[in-house]
């Protein structure tokens, strides 16, 4: 199956690989949602996963931080290897909590905790046992700046997170994800619940973030994938159809299926 993936890159990009799926399979009960996925994720680059609903892109994304372990009946096989330490994230002896400490996540709908703005960001530090006040203050401020939210919320750090606007809430969730200094951040359609202006600010932020952290993003919005990502993976019915440099995938897709989807002739 894996051989079916069309690679759309003129040459090896000579970049460090941060993580890599190797023959990754996933089942929801009896239903096979992902079939033999082989895909690199390059260090400090943005990789986007696109494809129609139900193609398995979110399933693949959530496999990276083992969110699937939360629900019974999910099975997976193959490997997702993280570099440079060459750890198979899916190995039985690897603690999913440790994985989630290195790979953070931002969700589709902003989901701030019922806590203050400050405590929302401090949460990912507190669960790591960091309770020193000045260290928390430093890192919360740093993360909020990193999420381009500091100027808007510096005077309302004690407000409930839920009182912010939708776009601010999503940036709060990004700040929360940044606070623990992750190596990879997973974005699961982070702008689908936001208006165009908030979307633009999140996109800008994601592009800035990739200087420091590797980003994997699922999006329904093909323009978004084209605008912000360095690499694009097109998935369909649980298979990785085409993978390559974003510009090439969008301008000169090599696979007919990818072309149909991108040009809107799909189905």
């Amino acid at each position: 199956m894996s051989n079916a993936t069309t690679i759309n890159m003129d040459a090896d990009p000579k970049l460090a690989i941060k993580a890599e799926c190797r023959n990754f399979n996933f089942h929801y009960g009896d239903f096979q949602a992902l079939k033999g996925i082989n895909m690199p994720v390059y260090d400090k680059k943005i990789t986007s996963l696109i494809g129609p609903s139900g193609c398995g892109k979110s399933t693949l994304l959530r496999s990276f931080n083992r969110m699937h372990d939360l629900y019974p009946g999910n099975r997976y096989g193959g490997e997702i290897v993280m570099h440079p330490d060459n750890t198979n994230l899916l190995a039985k002896e690897v603690d999913p909590i440790e994985v989630r400490m290195r790979i953070s996540m931002v969700f589709q709908k902003p989901n701030p905790f019922p806590k203050s703005v400050f405590e929302n960001v401090a949460y990912s530090l507190r669960v790591r046992g960091i309770n020193n006040k000045s260290e928390l203050e430093d890192r919360v401020q740093h993360s909020l700046k990193g999420a381009a939210l500091w100027d808007e919320v510096k005077n309302r750090l004690n407000d409930l997170g839920a009182n912010l606007s939708g776009g601010q809430q999503q940036r709060l969730c990004i700040a929360r994800a940044l606070a623990s200094d992750p190596e990879i951040i997973l974005f699961d359609e982070p702008t689908s619940a936001l208006d165009p202006i908030a979307t633009a600010s999140i996109e800008e932020l994601v592009v800035e973030l990739c200087e420091k952290v590797t980003i994997l993003i699922v999006t329904h919005n093909m323009q978004q994938a084209a605008r912000i990502s360095d690499f694009t993976a097109y998935m369909y019915l649980g298979e990785l159809i085409e993978y390559g440099v974003t510009d090439q995938v969008f301008i000169k897709p090599k696979n007919k299926q990818t072309e149909d989807y991108i040009t809107g002739r799909f189905g």
Binding site: L70, I97, E98, R100, S104, F113, Y123, V127
Partner: protein
């Protein structure tokens, strides 16, 4: 002009007919809606009317009582001896029994109920939850008189082995058993509140590297605060209003004490005692139960208002 009038007239007439026809149908439907609305309103009115009637009886009968007993004595006298020649009417005595037994009960029910709720909602595998929840709710279905006897003939002798000085009737064992009775209410309602917390919040917490316990205690419980608070308030109201367990196991000695190892009468058990006794209707002794009932009702009302306020104050918008 005239030609067109001749042509349009019959058309207009038929239009009028159609319109009035439609209007008639609408009116009958409207009538039906009104009838249904009235019936629903009537049903709602029954509960309002009952409440008002109870308040009226309590207040008017208490009024008679307070003609004879000054409010100051009622509130501050430290003896409750309405049946003696030297009658004293200090509600504090009964109130202390109610508060002491309720405190014991709540010390059992609130922590245990919350822990059970956290376990069932966040930790228990599906099967365990499906099996244990009916059992838990069964605990709430046991008649309180059975709990009363359980306290009297099982728990009190057991406690007496540890504390030989414990009287046969005491607030402690009644309160403990009452706590067990209240656990299912607290646990079940709290669990519902926690399960209503959206999965996205839990996922957010797990994705930050939180453990299950951290997620439960730092995200789910705070998010369910308003529901858990309502569960607590219901538990408190049950404890304050509970009658049978206390009447059977706590003794009916009015006793101004906050020591659970004493025997004592509560407001409710006193009302049972008098209502079933052979005091003549209309005597001041009989009238006391209305004043006591009014006190109880004001307490419960206070807790309900507190619960309402808590729900509003901590309501989470997910």
């Amino acid at each position: 002009m005239s030609a067109s009038t001749i042509v349009t007239l019959p058309l207009n007439q038929s239009l009028d007919l159609q319109v009035s026809d439609r209007l008639r149908k609408k009116a009958s439907r409207h009538m039906k809606e009104r009838v249904i609305e009235f019936l629903l309103f009537g049903a709602a009115l029954i509960s309002v009317f009952t409440t008002l009637a109870i308040v009226y009886v309590l207040v008017s009968e208490s009024w008679v009582f307070f003609q004879h007993v000054p409010l100051k004595d009622f509130l501050f006298d430290t003896q409750w001896t309405p049946l003696f020649d030297d009658a004293h009417y200090g509600i504090m005595v009964l109130l202390s029994g109610t508060l002491t037994s309720s405190a014991v009960a709540l010390m059992v029910a609130l922590p245990l109920g919350t822990i059970i709720a956290v376990y069932l909602s966040e930790f228990a595998p599906f099967k365990v939850r499906e099996i244990s929840k009916p059992f838990l709710e069964l605990l709430g279905g046991v008649p309180t008189i059975v709990y009363g006897y359980f306290a009297l003939v099982f728990l009190t002798p057991l406690l007496q082995k540890i504390y030989p000085d414990l009287p046969g009737f005491n607030l402690l064992s009644a309160g403990l058993v009452m706590g067990v009775m209240i656990i299912p209410y607290v646990a079940s309602l709290s669990e519902d509140a926690m399960r209503a917390v959206p999965m996205s919040l839990r996922e957010g917490s797990y994705a930050m590297g939180a453990t299950r316990l951290q997620t439960s205690l730092r995200v789910v419980v705070p998010a369910a605060t308003s529901g858990i608070a309502s569960a607590y308030i219901l538990g408190i109201s049950r404890a304050v209003g509970e009658t049978m367990i206390l009447a059977v196991a706590a003794g009916m000695q009015p006793n101004l004490t906050f020591n659970p190892a004493d025997s004592g009468a509560t407001i409710t058990s006193y009302i049972v005692q008098v209502a079933l006794g052979d005091l003549p209707h209309g005597s001041i002794g009989y009238q006391t139960i209305f004043a006591a009932g009014l006190t109880l009702m004001l307490m419960t009302l206070m807790f309900n208002l507190l619960g309402y306020w808590l729900r509003k104050r901590f309501r989470e918008v997910y």
